[in-house]
Amino acid sequence: MKRITVAVTSMLVGVTAAGIAAGDKWSDQFPHIKNTGDIAGECSYESMSQKDYSGQTLTINTHAVPVMGEPTALHAEQFSALTGAEVNVIHTPAGDLYSKAMIPFQAGQAPYDIVFGFSNFIRDWMAYLEPVPEYYVNMRQMQDVTKSHIDVASWDGTMMQFPIDGDRHYLKYRKDVIDNPELQAKYLAETGNELRVPQTWKEYAEIAAYFNGWDWDGDGELEYGSAEVMKKDDLMYAAFFSRSVAYAKNPATPGGFFFDLDTMTPLINSPGFVEALTDWVEAVNYVPPGGINFSLGDEINSFGGGQALFSFSWDDAFVAAMEDGSAIKNKVGVAPLPGADRVWNRETGAWDETYNQAPYIVWGWAAAVAKKSKNHELAFDYLCFFSNDANHQADIAIGRFGVNPFKKSDFVPDIYIERQGWDQQIAEEYTETLMDMEEKSTNRVFPLRVPGVFEFTSAVATGTSKALAGQLSPQEALDEVAAEWEAIIERVGVDNVREAYAVGVALEDNLR
């Protein structure tokens, strides 16, 4: 109750402050924040203008433009103008962010003061990062961050990454279809089932298959059931885990989703995951032609462009669909990931015949300060400025920036209704769904964050990709993944993996 009160208060403070500050002297100088003006805070435009970093240089390694790279560069320019610091921004493709920082880290060098990457890099990068100082952890701006994203940015209670982005997977659907009475009647007549937002993955498959390959929105083009990230790269494994959580995250069996924490036996080939992969292989039949090769960009374009009924992954496809100029603006809805009618119980070795749903708080963009940097204060001030309330409010409205909600004050429907022209019902659905995932669920799954995380996830990508391509059955594919995981554990050391995995399990089991 106390948390809700604090959240609501901070929302009201933020929104009220935004209203008061709109059109101030800072927004005249920096049009990026024209909708809100400067918003008072420890790292606001006003506060930063009091600092003098003349003669100091900050070097940042960030992602390529536009996703995260564009806001990094924009805020660097603003920060430089306010503080006098020289800020060099280096743009790097996503696939190289890890190694481009890791090689100098391991060589004991500090070419970058700030490194951008994904939040699940945290275990591998941790030894080379400077923890976020208490001052920033305790400031009001940070108190507004949801608990899930404080957890994502922290390691065993110590904040190692500065929260700049919020990510989770959720379901996006075409509201103009699912809520359409004519289509509801047609669906009922032809299938005997109610057309509604799918509550389970089986229902998702049934509806997606029904709406696959015909022009259900009358635009003269064929539409399809679902757009998903299925391309074998760094992201498809996250889609697979999204489909797995309902079948494999059993709240009755704490102690690990990916491994059994006691024995460190991989659970990836257990019946829950196999069921999810079996569903996913079936999904090949209701994705657009070539959907098995869809990257995240393709998924965004497909759902955001109105080609698919369903989609689930990061916010981007939804934001793209809701941007001005989109043909399906205000025709899309948001819901939690589908659940399952049964969930695997690894302790009894049988299915628990009960409805289960679990949010997947997936990894997202993260930024951190290098331990060997000689400009810690400057670097943290930059990150604090990057995510101050005014910048953050402006950034989340620009889809290509890749900055998504992670503050409690983001989950106020009015923000989206007034500033982005969303329908009230959609805005409420969006904020409520996300807030429930972030703050209310007790059955969350966090991304795998263990040493050598990429070896584990790469094995999942390869195995599931073979199943999708028909090279292996779901069970064979996941048996292969489990064997690979066991080999990785042996190489890394079972105690090293267990120690790191326990930190994530504590979050999932609500022990921290």
């Binding site: 890890y98 399809y224 074998k232 098995i292 497909s302």
Partner: protein, 289 residues
């Protein structure tokens, strides 16, 4: 007279050679004997552990190698046939000869990654123009999603991109051929086909062998096309050795293991190319010298 000082003049060149060629190879070998990865940084010494793993428990590497052999041999063969054909077309006096020579070179002059992105768009199964056209006939081939057809797509892109290189080398070869042999053949009454079989093709043999070997070396390093077009998928159906080494080295950060794979790849390539050169000499020249 003593000429010992001549070695002093060789020294700068030798030092450069050591720095840019020998050192990386030695470093790779040393790296391959280490367990350097994301959780164990540095050049420790693990003996031949990485090689044992590679030869005993990593069939994916060898499957990628067999795929690489398939791609390399198929694409280079097609490039040779097409490149030779195009070179013959513009070798003699034809209308707009210079225009066509430049036109044929354009694919090679474009950036492979950019062109592959364009090809990916062209072959996009639901949004691309190829399937848009073919759908008029009821066809929607899964160019990038079908395990077999995705191989064909990779071959098409590679052949389109690199046939001009073959064309360039073979055209240079044709232009340098001595005219006397053709004159003699004409006097003997040989027609175009006989001239090609008995004069042009044999005279072009050394250049053909050189061109094929250069292209085989380059084709075996195929990476950008796979990376952009299919990411080695669907499944592992288009995954080649270099892409697999890239995944292990720069995605999973298994530096020691990827170095072992790289060095093994180098050895296998040297042996393979030696065998291929001998085969080509036998095929093109008919003797092994």
């Amino acid at each position: 007279m003593r000429y010992g000082h001549k070695y002093v003049f060789l020294l700068p060149g030798l030092l450069v050679l050591i720095a840019i060629l020998i050192f990386p190879v030695i470093f790779t070998v040393r790296l391959s004997l280490s367990g350097w990865n994301s959780y164990n940084p540095g050049l420790d010494f693990v003996g031949i552990k990485n090689y044992v793993r590679l030869f005993t428990s990593d069939p994916r590497f060898w499957e990628a190698f067999s795929r690489l052999a398939f791609f390399s041999l198929t694409t280079v063969f097609l490039q040779y046939i097409l490149g030779f054909g195009l070179a013959l077309l513009v070798w003699r006096d034809v209308l707009f000869k210079r225009f066509f020579r430049v036109l044929f070179l354009i694919p090679m002059m474009t950036t492979p990654v950019i062109m592959t992105v364009i090809w990916k768009t062209v072959f996009h199964e639901s949004l691309g123009p190829v399937n848009d056209f073919l759908s008029m006939f009821g066809l929607t081939p899964l160019w990038l999603s079908d395990p077999m057809l995705s191989k064909v797509t990779v071959i098409i892109v590679e052949v389109w991109q690199w046939t001009p290189f073959m064309f360039l080398l073979l055209l240079a070869g044709l232009l340098s051929l001595p005219k006397e042999a053709f004159l003699a053949a004409s006097i003997d009454g040989a027609g175009p086909l006989r001239k090609f079989i008995y004069v042009t093709f044999p005279l072009m043999a050394p250049i053909s062998i050189g061109a094929i070997i250069i292209r085989l070396i380059e084709a075996s390093k195929i990476m950008d096309t796979i990376y952009v077009l299919t990411s080695g998928g669907p499944g592992t159906s288009t995954e080649t050795t270099s892409f697999y080494i890239f995944i292990k080295g720069l995605r999973e950060f298994q530096m020691g293991y990827s170095a072992a794979m790289s060095f093994t790849y180098l050895i296998v390539m040297i042996l393979s190319l030696t065998v291929i050169v001998n085969i080509l000499i036998r095929v093109f020249i008919g003797r092994n010298d």
